[in-house]
């Protein structure tokens, strides 16, 4: 053992702040490093491959149809990536820390358990946000290149034919543009992110009392699927009177205990070219915030007394 100055052991009695954003960020960035070094970003290569395959397809349809197909598949893949990643990574991180007993050393430092939970959640969300942005970038590039190509081809073909008026040409171009790269698509990406955030907060809650990662993953996926049947459940609840008491009760339980993930599918309409009102986006963002707060609080309720 090498010699050292006595200063190495000088006691430092520091004060500990009640809730430190800095400690949260330290845990978050360590989770990001962990996920990155688990090589999760390799998924992006798979996504790029899907885009390349999509670009090479030449289905017998209109240019707008091709753009619509590219959008549908690439944004759909992004959406699946976001929620699946949210479930798997959140379900892996906390139980892994418990199984590996890394949690001992973290919680024996001046770290509050809520800071640990928020940090882990933020880490996962950060990776999802970055991945979504990268995928959106790739997708936007693909769409834009196809769109400009189609518009140029269409203009050339229509201008060569004297029958088409400027108005006709404009309408045809507008049709292509509606299915091309539009700023609203950014909101579709936000929708996928918000959905992933709620899924992650539910999974973090489940993994605070789950005995294994596998349990958390399976239950989270189930909750996610049932969360999509919300409106169906409502229509049963409201319009079906011949249901048994048991079914009625079950539907009420579903509605009350399981988040409504169907609302978070609002990217569907945007991808199909519908206009989106910003008030709805704000409401969805606000709702997501409330979901995060409530599920973090629930996680803390379980986690705070957990003994390791």
């Amino acid at each position: 053992m090498s010699q050292t100055t006595p200063s190495a052991f000088e006691p430092a009695t520091k004060t500990v702040s009640p809730l430190s954003l800095r400690r949260v960020m330290v845990i978050a960035s360590s989770s990001v490093t962990q996920l990155v070094r688990m090589k999760t970003f390799y998924f992006l290569l798979a996504f790029a491959a899907i885009i390349v395959v999509l670009m090479s397809l030449n289905p017998p349809t209109t240019p707008a149809g091709v753009l619509s197909t590219i959008k549908r598949i690439s944004f759909g893949t992004m959406d699946v990536f976001a929620w699946l990643f949210a479930i798997v990574s959140t379900a892996l991180l906390i139980p892994k820390d418990i199984e590996d007993r890394t949690l001992y050393t973290i919680l024996s430092k001046p770290v509050r358990r809520i800071e640990y939970l928020i940090g882990k959640l933020l880490g996962v969300l950060w990776v999802i946000a970055v991945s979504l942005l990268v995928m959106y970038g790739v997708c936007a590039l693909a769409l834009w290149s196809r769109e400009t190509l189609y518009i140029a081809e269409e203009l050339e073909a229509m201008n060569a034919d004297a029958r088409y008026s400027a108005e006709n040409v404009g309408a045809q171009i507008a049709l292509i543009e509606q299915q091309g790269l539009r700023p609203e698509l950014g909101i579709a990406v936000l929708a996928s992110f918000l959905k992933a955030a709620v899924v992650a907060s539910v999974t973090i809650f489940l993994s605070t009392f789950a005995s294994s990662s596998l349990f958390s993953i399976i239950i989270s996926v189930l909750v996610f699927i049932i969360g999509h049947a919300h409106t169906m459940a409502t229509s049963f609840w409201l319009y079906q009177t011949d249901n048994s008491l048991f079914v009625q009760l079950l539907l009420k339980v579903v509605k009350i205990f399981i988040p409504n993930f169907q609302l978070y599918s609002f990217s569907h309409g945007i991808i199909q070219g519908e206009a989106v009102a910003y008030s709805l986006v704000w409401q969805m963002t606000g709702l997501t915030g409330v979901y995060l707060v409530v599920f973090l609080f629930l996680s803390l309720l379980v986690f705070i007394d957990k003994e390791f």
Binding site: T61, V80, F224, F257, L263, H268, G269, L280, L287, L298
Partner: protein, 280 residues
């Protein structure tokens, strides 16, 4: 107080918080859900009858929030069915696609186009099948296309592209002039209808036995709107009807003014035939 709360089992506290949150958010979420459906951002859940037909993959896609993704992949399968001329499978594929995304107009249009135009054309050409079978299938596919159109119009009542495609099936394949005229007639009510819809309504009405007078009055009305309606086919049709209905000469439309064509792009001159019939 704090110690009292600590004594309550944690599971009960968690369930109470979850339930309270659930009850508090439900009215807000219901309202938000309605707004999102109204803005066509969220696809309303499929009804029970549709659910029965959906099949497993589509049902799972709905429950997993994967509708656009699965619909996208199924569209590719639709193209594959088309290139393999596998029309029955194509119909099933489009049934699922349209159940997944009932508000996506292009799915309906594609389904009508594939079945009503491509499948029927294939039946006209396919020499491997006996003539009778080809005829029967031709009508079946055309009928399936019409069914798709009807379902599509239930979902998107003011759709012009669906009507356009449907009218083409009536016009080109079934030679059902009455229905073609009806569909063009419906179409012209909408702002985004093509200009030709109003003329086509008249042209095909004119071909329906017994509707000649109605067609004549309608086309004459269009003619009377002014110079912009004096198109060769319109004039040709009116003249044909004037002959057929034996309209007195003074009431007939005048011969084309030779000077009127000067400003227009040079087109081949109408060929005069005996009896004053003009071919555009």
């Amino acid at each position: 107080m704090v110690s009292f709360f600590r004594k309550i089992p944690r599971t009960i506290v968690v369930l109470v918080v979850l339930a309270a949150f659930g009850l508090a958010r439900t009215p807000f979420e219901n309202r938000l859900g309605e707004q999102l459906i109204e803005a066509k951002l969220v696809v309303p859940p499929p009804g029970m009858t549709v659910l029965d037909q959906m099949g497993q993959s589509a049902l799972m896609a709905t429950l997993g929030g994967l509708r656009p993704l699965v619909a996208g992949f199924l569209s590719l399968r639709g193209y594959e069915n088309f290139s393999e001329k596998n029309w029955d499978e194509l119909r099933q594929t489009y049934q699922v696609i349209t159940a997944l995304e009932p508000l996506e107009e292009s799915h309906w249009v594609n389904a009508i186009w594939h079945l009503g135009i491509n499948a029927t054309a294939n039946m006209e050409l396919d020499r491997k099948l006996p003539g009778f079978e080809r005829k029967r299938r031709f009508h079946n596919y055309a009928q399936q296309a019409i069914e798709f159109a009807e379902k599509g119009l239930e979902q998107i009542p003011d759709s012009v592209p669906i009507r356009k495609q449907l009218a083409e099936v009536y016009r080109e394949k079934l030679k059902d002039w009455e229905n073609a005229a009806r569909v063009y007639g419906e179409m012209m009510e909408f702002d985004d209808a093509p200009q030709y819809a109003e003329r086509f309504h008249g042209y095909f009405l004119a071909k329906v036995p017994g509707k000649e007078q109605e067609a004549y009055d309608y086309l004459k009305g269009l003619y009377d709107e002014g110079e912009h309606q004096h198109l060769p086919t319109l004039i040709f049709e009116i003249r044909r009807l004037e002959e057929e209905l034996k309209i007195p000469y003074p009431r007939r439309i005048p011969e084309a003014d030779p000077d009127a064509n000067r400003a227009r792009p040079q087109k081949p001159k109408p060929q005069a035939l005996p009896g004053g019939i003009v071919i555009p």
